[in-house]
Symmetry: C2
Subunit: 269 residues, 2 copies
């Protein structure tokens, strides 16, 4: 198996608490250096970059971040400019907002800014993302698909940022009933581990290849590598899938999971 | 382990096809004797017994049933009467419509009619039920609960008809995003197997303790007996559950599952 990660990731299932305890955003600031943190918010995913950027800036500063810079990257030309990469290089923590995952990868993929992001990550700078910003973390990402039954060819996938290998992440997971589409994704190649992250819930992924759950809801890991029966190569598009057996792990705050050995902790850490 | 079943059950996840191929309803008629069948439709669950009963009668006759009788049981007094039990005794197949599962058990439970139903079942008469009529099949049934994340004490359960032991059935499964509530149900006692049945999908359960899937969508079996970690006895009501690992089986038309050994077939039968 490939190494899963080189640095630290905080992958959030969307709709993280921004008014109450703000557990996830506080953890992001802490991992990025706390009172020494210099955070960069990337609003590439959203169609409302000014509004969303200003909201996160206010919240993160209010929660104790030292500096917060919002970088909007409207197009590939900007992502290839030198000045914006220099801005990003100051970051001790990077945060991708929600929106449309293809806007992130379409604008950043293969640009100077994209390379800078990878270098930061390899240096140990925490990269966080919520909702669409969560989906983009993996090699291959889910970009669309309906809730409901697992059916062949009912979801669309695309290359992601490639920060986390051999997994596929889905967000707003239980809230939008996405177990079927995550199973459809992993049925196509059970080598890939499926990670479904609920709203106001996140995984903090460490360089050694394990993650810990942070947040109020659950994280569901589905591992189809033990499966002995699948019909994915036989049935027609739209037909119901078979996948058996699948190992599932439902985890809550404090529990951890080893992505390499594919086993969970027995108690919260 | 207890024996799972004594007779034959057809448990339908709701919204079975009534206009097209009608695969599930045709199978019901076939299992009940085909051209020799005498079907009894029990409308206890619904608040519209005349309308729903008339609809099923027309459809089942159109699909080749020899005789179809609709029995409405508005109250326990009726369910204790001798004449209605005599009517039921003629059945070669019994069908519970959808509605509210508590209306079925509240009216039938412990009555003469309830006992007659069990006797028919032990004699090998097929008992079918859709939606609420599916939930009532087991010892303990789910009567309410929200979609979304698995959380402690977020579902309500009640004693069912007790035709199928050691399982809990949920219906409209993928369509209503019910994996979380089914996991919540089995977390309370992993001895119990969770069976989630999608719309227009059913399981045909045989007396030897295996079932075969009939229908267009999927059946999801969740088996928490291998779980090594659970927080169900520790957390407060409403808190996110932990359950790991869980064995999951996603099955489609023609695949079968052995309820005693808890393993699926590798190919459709």
């Amino acid at each position: 198996m490939k190494h899963y990660v080189e640095g630290k990731l905080l992958i959030i299932g969307g709709a993280e608490d921004k008014k109450g305890e703000c557990k996830i955003l506080k953890r992001f600031i802490q991992e990025a250096g706390g009172k020494e943190s210099h955070l960069v918010v990337l609003t590439a995913a959203t169609e409302l970059p000014e509004q969303v950027g200003a909201e996160y800036k206010e919240i993160l500063l209010g929660l104790g971040a030292a500096e917060v810079e919002v970088l909007d990257i409207p197009e590939r030309l900007a992502a290839n400019g030198e000045s914006i990469s220099q801005e990003l290089q100051k970051a001790t923590g990077v945060f991708f907002t929600g929106g449309d995952q293809l806007r992130i990868t379409g604008v950043l993929g293969g640009t100077r800014l994209g390379k800078t992001l990878h270098r930061l990550y390899e240096r140990g700078v925490i990269i966080a993302g919520t909702s669409a910003g969560a989906s983009v973390m993996s090699d291959t990402m889910i970009v669309g698909g309906e809730a409901g039954t697992a059916k062949k060819d009912t979801l669309t996938m695309a290359p992601g940022l490639g920060l986390l290998h051999s997994v596929v992440v889905d967000q707003h997971f239980a809230q939008r009933g996405r177990i079927g589409r995550l199973l459809t994704a992993i049925a196509q190649n059970p080598y890939v581990l499926g990670i479904g992250i609920d709203e106001d819930t996140s995984i903090l992924v460490y360089a050694d290849g394990h993650f810990t759950v942070v947040g109020s809801q659950t994280v569901t890991v589905v591992d189809a590598s033990p499966s002995i029966a699948s019909n994915v190569s036989e049935v027609s598009p739209g037909q119901a899938l078979v996948l058996t057996p699948v190992l599932m792990h439902v985890l809550a705050d404090g529990y951890s999971f080893d992505l390499k050995r594919r086993i969970s902790s027995m108690t919260p850490v």
